[in-house]
């Protein structure tokens, strides 16, 4: 059920019969899906298929809005807590699972303060420690060479692609176990997109990545596993190479070959 076909990859998270409701509307229908540790899993599918809904379950973003309801299990490894259980504090989950959004959304503060914010709310206020973490995160996000001389200038002066890398650095600075990307390049030009994709590929050495994308070439380029969703259900989940060359399900085949979606 949650097994990842023919691999030894350990799990970082696993959904078991996960359903999700926006008020009366069911957006996820009994999804069971394992996410491999330190691998990138791409979620693909046509608009409204529930891929973003699934992604936002992983850091309990749905808790911010009233009327939303989870059912089933969503386990986070290694401790195997059911992260959608009402007893689990969503803030504790968000401390472990970072997120990068569709449109770059830096805070209207300086570059430095953007990256330092998540660290500050984790109780670190020592200047040297902050400086070290901020530099490290910006290097990991491949932004350091661009901005090392203007750390204290406003984040809004950066280009769209740089802003998105800043948002990645902001998430990385908190040392997340898992990083969620919600169509991170849909607002960016091809050059900026390529840099983000390089970054995602490099980052999966360190952190488990889940990326929602509309762009099938992107899924093929950056991910190790791909999950295809359709109308709130998981249709197929397999190694990316297999999903794009030899999918088991005819619906998957139709989607990845561009016959619908």
């Amino acid at each position: 059920m949650t097994a990842i076909a023919d691999t030894q990859d350990a799990l970082k998270a696993a959904a078991k019969d996960l359903s999700f409701y926006y008020g009366p509307v069911q957006a996820l229908k009994s999804v069971s899906l394992g996410l491999a540790e330190r691998r990138a899993t791409a979620l693909i599918g046509p608009s409204g298929c529930g891929k973003t809904t699934f992604l936002r379950c992983l850091n309990r973003m749905h808790d911010l809005y009233p009327g939303n309801r989870y059912e089933g299990q969503l386990l986070l490894y290694p401790d195997q807590i059911n992260l959608i259980s009402p007893e689990v504090d969503p803030i504790a989950i968000r401390m472990r699972v970072g997120m990068v959004f569709q449109k770059p959304n830096p805070f209207p503060k300086s570059i430095y303060e953007n990256v330092a914010y998540g660290v500050r709310i984790r109780g670190i206020s020592q200047r040297q420690e902050l400086d070290r973490i901020v530099e490290h995160a910006l290097r990991d996000a491949a932004l350091w060479p661009d901005i090392k001389d203007r750390l204290h200038s406003p984040a809004f002066n950066l280009s769209g692609g740089q802003q998105q890398r800043l948002c990645i650095a902001r998430a990385l600075a908190t040392g997340p176990e898992m990083l969620l990307f919600d169509e991170p390049t849909s607002a960016l030009d091809p050059t900026a997109t390529a840099r983000i994709e390089e970054l995602v590929t490099a980052l999966k050495e360190k952190v488990t990545i889940v990326i929602v994308t509309h762009n099938m070439q992107q899924a093929a380029r950056v991910s190790d596993y791909t999950a295809f969703m359709y109308e709130g259900r998981l249709i197929e989940h397999d190694r990316t190479a297999k999903m794009f060359t030899n999918p088991s399900n005819s619906l998957t085949e139709d989607y990845v070959t561009g016959r619908f979606g």
């Binding site: 959004f101 449109k103 209207p108 709310i121 809004f156």
Partner: protein, 314 residues
């Protein structure tokens, strides 16, 4: 023009010339009407201010600012009135800002979305439209008779504070709502609590809008007369309130809060209602000073706002 796609095939592209000319005439006519309306409004304002300045400017002097009221027009001054206005506005802001901003933050960020919240929201909007004299009556019953605060600075400050509270709440909510939800999500996704998000993001980013609302609200309060007459403003005060500081610890004193008060509009009202022409000139001069006070208050708020806006842009 030859074309294969059929879009440009029509022999007579676009509407006839006459239609466009007609539309442009309507355009010009509206621009003219708009200009006329603006000129008229401006002319009225300039005339009023000019009249006030002509009447009052000759009376402005250090003596006028530093004298108490008197039954002789040329010896009368506005010392107790302008100090009264400064103190009352201070108390008004002190009451309305924390209550108004706090209530707005609660309603926008914390309150559940249900019929109770809707009801509260509608009623706050209604309260902003209640005539100020009604607030005066409420304050007379509540602060003066029920709480025994007397006909004092405290009562005056609280009354005007209540009066502008709905305006502060509404303006603050609008400003908070203008913060994009993506920014909130960014903060929450990093593990921020609601309080972190409010204090580190929502309030700092909406401070410009909050201050704008506050300027408008305080500008209204500074000119209010009716509610303060209702709670018992005196129009002839020939002494100053207790000083708010003292030489021994704790160095601040609250005695002034319970002193009788007057404010600029009350003093003007009193002078205007006298038969002697010279008092009318005093009223005009006091009006000029009140204008300057209002502008000074706004300037301070605009300066603060500019400081915050410089750092924040979407």
């Amino acid at each position: 023009m030859s074309s294969e796609n059929g879009i440009a095939k029509s022999t007579n592209p676009g509407p006839p010339r006459g239609v466009i000319a007609h539309h442009k005439r309507a355009d010009r006519l509206f621009a003219l009407l708009g200009l006329l309306a603006m000129t008229l409004a401006l002319a009225v304002l300039v005339t009023l201010l000019g009249q006030l300045a002509l009447d009052g400017v000759g009376r402005l002097s250090w003596q006028f600012l530093s004298s108490y009221p008197s039954r002789f027009p040329d010896q009368a001054g506005i010392l107790s009135a302008w100090i009264g206005t400064v103190l009352v506005m201070f108390l008004t802001a002190l009451t309305a800002v924390p209550l108004g901003v706090g209530a707005a933050i609660y309603l926008e960020e914390y309150a559940p979305r249900n019929w109770m919240t809707d009801l509260i929201e509608i009623n706050i909007a209604n309260l902003a439209g209640v005539p100020s004299i009604v607030y005066g009556l409420m304050a007379l019953g509540l602060f003066v008779y029920a709480f025994h605060l007397g006909q004092s600075f405290l009562t005056a400050g609280l009354t005007l504070g209540m009066l502008i509270l709905p305006m502060v709440i509404i303006a603050t909510r609008e400003a908070i709502r203008a913060v994009p939800p993506q920014i909130r999500e960014a903060a929450y996704a990093l593990g921020a609590t609601k309080w972190h998000t409010v204090k580190d993001h929502v309030v700092p980013y909406s401070l410009g809008g909050i201050l704008t609302g506050l300027i408008l609200a305080l500008s209204r309060a500074i000119g209010e007369t009716a509610p303060l007459l209702t709670v018992g403003a005196l129009s002839f005060i020939a002494f100053l309130p207790h000083t708010p500081w003292k030489s021994e610890a704790p160095f601040v004193s609250a005695d002034w809060l319970f002193d009788p008060f007057t404010v600029m509009p009350i003093q003007m009202f009193n002078w205007v209602s006298r038969p002697q022409e010279d008092f009318h000139i005093n009223a005009a001069a006091a009006g000029l000073i009140l204008l300057v006070m209002t502008l000074a208050m706004n300037a301070v708020a605009i300066a603060i706002r500019a400081r915050f806006r410089k750092r924040i842009q979407w």
